[in-house]
């Protein structure tokens, strides 16, 4: 039962002096919220610290990283660590290789996924159920199961030591999970739109391009960011197929920095490369985090 405070009751309250600013702030603060904030901040420290440590280390000298120490930032930041990296040809090459590979994968994969998702959501045809079930079935097959015969296949195509094994398979709607995500989204678009277009004489290809694609932008954006992050971080496939330094992508470059037989380990260099490696992912993530959350919750709990 909600209480209604009448004017009479108000005036019956003992009048107090207007509390000062400090007291007002103190009263405005909800102690429960305060505790929650404290916990949230402590947890954030745990989640953010490795990143901060990475950034801090990248500015230290080799002497500093070799000894036990607790200061996050060095007294004398070594920006030259970055300058040194940026001057390095192998770094520049790995970076541009990564950008190239990721772009091509995105273009091919997103387009083909949009096409395939369209047929599984908006078109009615005999056999759709079976083909769709087959596609979802591939989710259960661990990637390692096909790794070796794929290697032989790519060899027969003459694709070893080229970018092809990394980029080309994506053109065939790689990733059933992502197709599923887009399909779920497309299912929610009202049917009347297709029908209206159909009456106007549009064929399915035109409907896909002019009606469905513009409306599916959020889903497309979601899979694009997923693919971007996945591909930018991808280590194992490039490791197996690229095989030559000129073709190395950033994950291999960074991972190999760690394998260098140097003593002491030049952590400041490794961390500087890591920072530059992480930045694009970080930026994309912060700009598009809405899509991440939607993508995961949509495929994770609905459907």
């Amino acid at each position: 039962m909600a209480t209604v405070t009448t004017n009479a009751q108000l005036s019956a309250l003992p009048r107090t002096a207007q509390p000062n600013l400090f007291l007002r702030i103190v009263r405005a603060i909800d102690p429960r919220a305060l505790i929650l904030y404290a916990i949230l901040l402590a947890a954030s420290l745990f989640f953010l610290f490795p990143m901060a440590w990475m950034a801090g280390t990248s500015l230290k000298t080799i002497e500093e990283v070799g000894q036990p120490q607790l200061n996050l930032l060095p007294a004398n930041p070594q920006w030259d660590n970055y300058a040194k990296l940026l001057r390095e040809e192998t770094f520049y090459r790995a970076y541009t290789n990564s950008v190239f590979v990721v772009t091509l994968v995105l273009v091919g994969t997103v387009t083909s996924i949009a096409l395939v998702a369209y047929t599984f959501s908006r078109l009615e045809w005999k056999g759709r159920g079976i083909v769709f079930a087959l596609m979802m079935g591939t989710l259960m097959l661990p990637a390692q199961a096909t790794l070796v015969p794929q290697y032989v296949l790519f060899h027969n195509l003459g694709w070893i030591r080229t970018f092809n094994p990394i980029t080309i398979p994506g053109f065939f709607a790689g990733g059933a999970a992502l197709v599923f995500l887009v399909r779920q989204f497309m299912l929610s678009i009202p049917r009347e739109l297709d029908e209206a277009a159909m009456i106007d004489g549009a064929n399915p290809l035109q409907i896909w391009w002019y009606v469905i694609m513009p409306l599916s932008r959020p889903a497309i954006a979601t899979i694009t960011v997923f693919l971007f992050v996945g591909q930018w971080n991808n280590l194992i496939n490039p490791l197996i197929y690229l095989q030559r330094a000129e073709l190395f992508t950033m994950p291999i470059y960074v991972a190999q920095k760690n394998n260098l037989q140097e003593s002491p380990i030049p952590w400041q260099d490794i961390m500087a490369a890591s920072v530059l490696f992480v930045i694009p992912v970080l930026v994309v993530f912060i700009l598009t985090q809405r899509y991440f959350v939607e993508g995961i919750t949509m495929t994770g709990t609905k459907g």
Partner: protein, 652 residues
């Protein structure tokens, strides 16, 4: 031209060519589909639909055939051969699977270690991950200013942990000597007495636990302990359902647990039976009978007219198998028993795929219980487990099952780790629960009586087996000391628990085998934000009204969590567990970056073992077999996921 620029250009040309190939291929696929549609007499408009449908699906279909189906079939074929690069390929049948599943030889042993490692990540890592992500989700489920920013921060590690950079940062922070984490811990320990105590307790616990686990994983018989675990699980489940009223919900829960345990056992026994050599007829016969009994109960719960057929067929097959074995008793027995077992298991598998509505068949339920009883009484003692379960009566009366031991051999042989007796106990639990789930609402007292009696039995077994486990462990050490041998299996455990950690002791994170797995789990906890988002969505879906109603009833925070939140988010929980378990099997990148030559074997997951075998040691045949074992486990888990949850998927 610069090599990389040229490679990019070529790749671009290939990409354009591929696009063209897909366009042409798609049109061809569409036309072919249309032709088949015409041939099958579909209407013109349907033909058109089929054309367009396949046209759009063609990119995936073509890719599937080229990049998935072909390679998968090839790898399936390789898995039955001894294919090694540069060597002649021979057909070896099930040899690869046998070696791996039975842990035979160096590779089998290394594979079992990888499975033990993976199991560690499941049993220790996944719960910790679930707790972390649920905790984060509950924190974020508060209406606070700036909560979205925190959500972003909590999720951030997931994005970064996929790549090598963040893992390298962890590697640096975790360095055993002078790494940030250890130095901080040491400083805190030096400053605060309480923290120092906790810190040493932490070191002690982790080292004791991991060295004990290493002892078990090293193939040590843990003796009667393994009886205690299933009995304890049975007792706990029964305890929860015996309390309070006998409701449909409880029956459903009992059934769920029975089904899960039953399926696990069938898979384990079937895998063993498929590869076991020499084949134990009792094992197969008993497994078939267990499976059949399970199927029987399963179908009595369901509404299907063919239930009696489904149960009679496997039993009949088993009977035929026995007759044939008795008559011929040769190699033929092997395949026949396998057949019998598979046939027996088939109906249960079927029940998994088609969820049939429930129907009361009390009478038949009693019949099933009787049948089960007969099977157990007739088959178990002395036959199925080399006599191990003969100790049951002793356990039931709280007597020690260990005869006075006088040498290590007795202990090693007496409780060989491969004894399937523990599995039988699990089977018993499943059957009791399955039987209970049949009990009718109208007979709550009967149901409760069954539950209580079984509870008492399992409780007794658990307690006495645990006591025996301790006795056994002590005996092992004593005999070892007396005979001048070392207790090699638990030497590390004994050393780690001999004394409270000294001051200045630091966790040797990446470098010591006792700490390498905990290091990896720490990092998975750090990046458990994907699970958090799933939980968060589930938490937001819990109606406020439930909490308000509970508050009216005077429920406290804890009660609200257990009684409302947890049941309401259980699908999300189940989902996260399944995904976590699959991920534990497939862990690769983390191990690849964090390993050192010393810790590689202790970190290797099943997927890492697979990589080693195929790409480092060129054993394509065995690598393929590993990948199909992995695929089998993952398919099973996914089927479970299908069965108990709606189809869900997410990509981290």
């Amino acid at each position: 031209m610069d090599v990389s620029a040229q490679a990019r250009l070529e790749n671009l040309l290939w990409a354009i060519g591929t696009a063209a190939f897909i366009v042409i291929g798609s049109v061809l696929v569409g036309q072919a589909a249309k032709m088949i549609a015409r041939w099958r007499g579909l209407s013109t408009s349907d033909q058109r639909k089929v054309f367009w449908g396949f046209l759009f699906a063609a990119p995936w279909i073509i890719g599937f055939v080229i990049f998935v189906l072909g390679p998968a079939l090839a790898s399936l074929y390789y898995s039955f051969t001894d294919y090694k690069l540069g060597k002649e390929m021979n057909w070896t049948g099930l040899e690869n699977y046998r070696e791996l599943l039975l842990g035979a030889g160096a590779q089998g042993r290394r594979f079992s270690q990888a499975m033990f490692n993976s199991f560690y990540y499941m049993a220790v890592g996944v719960p910790l991950q679930i707790i972390t992500s649920l905790g984060m989700a509950m924190l974020l489920n508060n209406q606070l200013r700036g909560i979205r920013l925190f959500r972003l921060i909590f999720y951030l590690p997931v994005i970064l942990a996929g790549g090598p950079a963040a893992l390298l940062a962890w590697r640096y922070m975790l360095a055993g000597n002078g790494g940030f984490i250890n130095v901080t811990l040491q400083n805190l320990a030096d400053s605060f007495f309480l923290f120092d105590w906790l810190y040493r307790g932490f070191i002690f616990t982790v080292e004791a636990f991991n060295s004990f686990y290493a002892g078990i994983a090293g193939g040590d018989p843990i003796g009667p302990f393994k009886y205690a675990v299933p009995a304890l699980i049975g007792a706990l489940v029964l305890l929860s359902i015996a309390r309070g009223e006998w409701t449909p919900a409880k029956r459903a829960r009992a059934w769920l647990v029975a089904e899960l345990i039953g399926a696990t056992i069938i898979v384990l026994l079937a895998a063993r039976a498929l590869v076991a050599d020499p084949l134990d007829p009792g094992l197969l016969l008993g497994s078939g009978a267990l499976a059949a009994a399970g199927a029987f109960i399963a179908h009595m719960r369901g509404e299907t007219r063919r239930f009696h057929l489904w149960t009679l067929i496997p039993l009949a097959l088993a009977a035929v198998g026995i007759v044939i074995l008795m008559t011929f008793g040769s190699d033929a027995e092997r395949s026949l028993y396998v057949l019998a077992l598979l046939a027996a298991a088939a109906p249960l598998v079927l029940v998994y795929i088609t969820r049939t509505p429930m129907k009361k068949r009390r009478l038949l339920g009693a019949g099933a219980a009787l049948l089960t009883g007969i099977i157990i009484v007739r088959l178990i003692p002395g036959q199925l487990d080399g006599g191990r379960l003969a100790v049951l009566p002793q356990y039931l009366t709280l007597q020690s099952a260990i005869a006075q031991p006088d040498n290590l051999d007795y202990l090693n042989e007496g409780f060989a780790a491969t004894t399937p007796a523990a599995l039988w106990l699990y089977g018993l639990v499943a059957l009791v629960l399955g039987g209970l789930s049949l009990a009718d609402n109208r007979y709550p007292r009967t149901a409760r009586t069954i539950a209580l009696v079984s509870l008492a039995a399992f409780g007794l077994i658990a307690v006495s087996a645990a006591i025996d486990g301790v006795r056994y462990f002590q005996a092992y050490n004593q005999i070892a000391a007396a005979t001048g041998e070392q207790n090699y299996h638990f030497a590390q455990f004994n050393a780690a628990t001999a004394q409270w950690p000294d001051k200045n002791r630091v966790p040797l994170w990446m470098t010591n085998e006792l700490w390498s797995k905990p290091s990896l789990i720490l990092i998975t906890m750090w990046s458990s934000g994907a699970g958090m988002l799933i939980f968060l969505a589930a938490l937001k879906g819990v109606p406020r009204a439930f909490y308000e109603a509970a508050e009216v009833d005077g429920a406290n925070r804890w009660q609200k969590f257990w009684k409302i939140t947890l049941p309401m988010i259980s699908p999300a929980m189940f989902y996260n567990v399944v995904i976590g378990v699959i991920a534990a099997l497939q862990t690769f990148d983390t191990i690849y970056i964090l390993r050192t030559p010393q810790t590689e074997d202790d970190l290797a997951s099943a997927a890492f073992f697979l990589f080693n075998r195929t790409f480092r040691q060129l054993e394509i045949g065995q690598g393929a077999a590993v990948s199909w074992i992995l695929a089998g486990i993952i398919v099973l888990l996914t089927v479970l996921q299908f069965r108990y949850n709606k189809w869900v998927y997410y990509e981290a």
